[in-house]
């Protein structure tokens, strides 16, 4: 039988995405083997991230200052907003170095099967930003799967009365893909070839 403190740690690891029972055990045993100082540093980093990182009140990006570093970057074009499902999609767009606008993180995608409706993602915040600012274009970069496409259509419908140019990334990817796995070249092409919806 695994000692309770060890079993406890393994159990905590399995709650993380992509970590199965075996990987969780491997991680826990690796931590046991290493010096105590490393474990303390890891625990401190986890606590610090929870204490100091929060969502930007403008764009929902993860940040330690409000508004976030992207929202306050004077070199960026404030009239462009790229809409993504999750904060971890931002680096995927950033890696192309072609995009110099702002972001808006939805915090998910529409999925009736999971009980996620329009009120559960931050479309209202996006609409507010478009209304209050001088936005030239909204680029919708939700995932190229069924849920991402429906979310894109929903956003386009909400923005239509506001008269803002609304575009969708052009993916050469098969449907069912995930933004997370798009490489730099694919992403740059998708941005370049974006179309109005």
């Amino acid at each position: 039988m695994t000692a309770p403190p060890l079993a406890n740690l393994i159990n905590e690891f399995t709650k993380l995405p992509g970590v199965g029972g075996k990987s969780a055990a491997r991680l826990a045993y690796a931590i046991l083997k290493r010096p105590a100082a490393e474990a303390e540093a890891l625990a401190a980093a986890i606590l610090e991230v929870k204490a100091k990182i929060f969502r930007c009140s403008t764009c929902n990006n993860m940040t330690d200052v409000d508004p976030c570093a992207i929202c306050t970057d004077a070199r960026r074009d404030p009239s462009l907003i790229c809409v993504v499902e999750e904060a971890f999609n931002i680096p995927t767009i950033e890696q192309t170095r072609d995009y110099k606008g702002m972001f808006h993180v939805l915090l998910g995608a529409l999925s009736p099967l999971k009980g996620v409706g329009p009120q559960d993602i931050d479309v209202a915040g996006l609409v507010r930003r478009v209304r209050s600012g001088s936005i030239r274009e909204v680029i919708i970069a939700t995932n190229p799967n069924v849920e991402g496409e429906a979310t894109a259509l929903y956003i386009a419908q909400q923005l239509r009365p506001l008269g803002v140019r609304t575009t969708r990334l052009a993916f050469g990817l098969p449907v069912g893909g995930d933004l997370e796995y798009a490489d730099q070249v694919t992403m740059a092409k998708a941005l370049e070839g974006r179309r109005e919806i």
Binding site: P112, L113, G117, P118, E149, A150, Q157, V175
Partner: protein, 356 residues
């Protein structure tokens, strides 16, 4: 494409010895219950990862064995391919698909080998629920356009999402899901309609060429569409489910406007299904410039043997055929050209002889 050999491990009663085949016609004979159909089923399984007899794959695994494994050597345009498929019987249903000893995706695996099967169970195409006919059509579309499977998967996902939304009773995003539903439904129905057109034309040609007495049989694709979207939407909100779309498509087989399943005798129905299979095979050959494998399971004497013989002699010579029958006259009709006769007993080929 030619299947040179197959080896089945724990597949029903088949023994794990390699079985080699004739490049043209293979007649599998033997007493009932010895494994004739099992051999054809193993070939079908190797090509499609499915069975033509049962939706439950656990049924093909030999009693009390943990998994099933079938491998085969395929020649396609002079290139040898080694295919293998392993499936666990347990809850996990873990599946390993390999081409030339490399693990591949389902999509790539299915593209490696193509097979069409006729069996008496396929009469469901005429007699069964519309779902049977949709599946019959979908398999045909996918055989000439493997990317169609992606369209189907996408559509099924949108349908589930839309039904969940209607079920929930809150419709804030219904318009967005409707748009997504319309796009994916149109892709499926466009592909089905195009294939149904080609298939009914090829079918009519075959019927005419062989002078089959039932000439006025019409195959009509009936897509489930919407004339008045606003009205249907209101009904759907009340019913809390989708009421129109590819999930309600049908294909009608009619003679003088009457349902073929009600008008035709059992033997005539078998003949119609057989002719449809020949039509599918022909469409595949036109599209790919090569023939798929053709499995004819449990041919019985109710079929029009003269036409069957005619059909077989007119098949392009590179079409590899596998047929089973327990009926002597049928076996007689099949052995007119060069062929191999495989005698199967207790899951083992005990005699294999070539005739020219």
């Amino acid at each position: 494409m030619i299947l040179a050999s197959v080896t089945a491990n724990n597949f029903r009663n088949l023994e794990p010895d390699p079985i080699t085949f004739h490049a043209q016609t293979n007649l599998v004979v033997g007493r009932n219950g010895q494994g004739k159909t099992n051999l054809l089923e193993a070939i079908y399984f190797l090509a499609t990862t499915k069975s033509f007899r049962t939706p439950r794959l656990a049924n093909v695994v030999r009693f009390e064995q943990p998994s099933v494994f079938v491998s085969g050597a395929l020649q396609r345009q002079r290139i040898e391919k080694a295919l293998s498929i392993g499936v666990e019987a347990a809850e996990s249903r873990r599946r390993v698909l390999m081409v030339n000893e490399e693990s591949v995706s389902l999509h790539d695996y299915l593209a490696a080998m193509s097979v069409f099967a006729y069996s008496a169970a396929r009469l469901e195409i005429l007699r069964g629920a519309p779902e049977e006919r949709r599946r019959f059509l979908d398999r045909g579309v996918a055989s000439i356009n493997p990317a169609y499977l992606q369209d189907l998967i996408r559509y099924a996902r949108v349908l589930r999402q839309r039904n969940a939304l209607l079920q929930s009773g809150s419709h804030g995003s219904l318009e967005a899901w409707d748009a997504e539903f319309a796009i994916s439904a149109a892709a499926v129905q466009r592909a089905r309609a195009a294939y149904a057109d080609e298939l009914s034309a090829a079918f009519a040609e075959i019927v005419a060429r062989h002078g089959y007495h039932i000439r006025d049989l019409r195959m009509t694709y009936r897509p489930s569409g919407v004339d008045d979207p606003a009205r249907v939407r209101r009904l759907e909100i009340r019913a809390r489910t989708s009421l129109a779309g590819p999930q309600r498509d049908n294909i009608e087989f009619a003679i003088d406007g009457r349902n073929a399943a009600e008008v035709l005798s059992g033997g005539e129905q078998k003949m119609i299904v057989l002719l449809l299979k020949f039509a599918k095979l022909e469409l595949f050959r036109r599209r790919h410039g090569e023939s798929a494998l053709f499995l004819l399971d449990d041919l019985d004497a109710e079929l029009d043997l003269e036409i069957l013989q005619n059909l077989l002699t007119r098949l392009p010579s590179e079409t590899q055929l596998f047929a089973t029958s327990a009926k002597e006259p049928v076996v007689g009709a099949l052995q007119s050209g060069p062929h191999r006769r495989l005698v199967i007993e207790k899951g083992r080929v005990i005699d294999s002889r070539d005739f020219s």
